[in-house]
Symmetry: C2
Subunit: 196 residues, 2 copies
Amino acid sequence: MNADASGGKTLMNGNEKLEKARERIIESIAQNIHLYGLTPSAGRQYGTMFFHNEPLTLDDMTEELGMSKTSMSTSVRALSDLKLVERAWKRGVRKDLYQVKDDWYQSFLDLFSIKWRRSVSFHSAAIRRSLAELEELVIDPAIDDGLREEVTIDIEKLLYLRDYYEWLDRLVDAFEDHDIFNLVPIKKPEKDTPNK
Amino acid sequence: MNADASGGKTLMNGNEKLEKARERIIESIAQNIHLYGLTPSAGRQYGTMFFHNEPLTLDDMTEELGMSKTSMSTSVRALSDLKLVERAWKRGVRKDLYQVKDDWYQSFLDLFSIKWRRSVSFHSAAIRRSLAELEELVIDPAIDDGLREEVTIDIEKLLYLRDYYEWLDRLVDAFEDHDIFNLVPIKKPEKDTPNK
DNA sequence: AAGTTCGTACAGTTTTTTCTGTACAAACCA
DNA sequence: TGGTTTGTACAGAAAAAACTGTACGAACTT
């Protein structure tokens, strides 16, 4: 079991060490993926795929994670919806193959875009409607002055919100268009240059 | 009940209209607050506070939302942790008073900062550790070449992640320092200027 | 066309989260 | 000091979410 031929100070062999180092990262992803609105299981799935150098099938994942194929199917779909994972092809393989997208910067931008764009348009629609209603209400001569004042205050608030979501929309634009990299540049493009 | 003195085309009176307009916004917030990691209930609580022009006590919220005081207490804490809500004081009132922070831009930046900063440092720590272990492992003469190659690949991956989180950290800086407003400016500062 | 294989819809179960009521400590009041 | 009032910890109930097994349609094989 613990036979260790080398004169090292550890009881673990090399494979175990590698596995442990990977496991730590995977667990770290699992614990933080809630920021992406995903479950720890999906995070573990992602992490597993991340360290596999070949694309995986649903059956592979079932094997690796000891979970049902149904679960693998649903969570790989969730990962794909957020563009964290993409399909791959390999000739001769009939099963669907999946692999992680390797550009994490882009994945982050995609996440941001998908999540917040949806939110902005949802909110904007609600604000537009309520604003229209209140602007109609405020000029209604039949309402009393106390109410009119309340309505006026609410209109102010909604105008503020409208501006805010308009700003948020432009922020998403800046992410989508990669303008954000002008403000916060990526240091090392892809390859690391030797010696500084 | 539906006595409507005005000659309007609606059956609702002014108060109902106002209430409906508010309700739409509140529900919109409730449906989207999951982006902040909060429950719809907390969102409704926030929305209710948003339209109240006076700070609210826990008992007020219990009244407004028909939920237990315990729930109000826990979710107002969650809202405070994300700096969406702050305590207020009013002389003569013994109870704790809460109100929404009125700067949504700042709230957004706070959220971003709180959520992602924590994530970055968590990930970075894991990466540092695993990287150290693997760099020790890769120079171990006792491991075979197949394993060494795998370890080398993983080290590459971890270096990539390290760069990525370093970038994310700088991105959070840019938000915290308000540099983001240089890239995506707020249009109307606070007050809306009449006639452009 | 019959037989496989694969992915997912769906219903039911397990697990997790949210919510409530009770209980109690701290602060205030008289 | 004894009596309120206020906020929250905690245990249990209710609600929601995650997960599994079965079933089935679609695509491929022969």
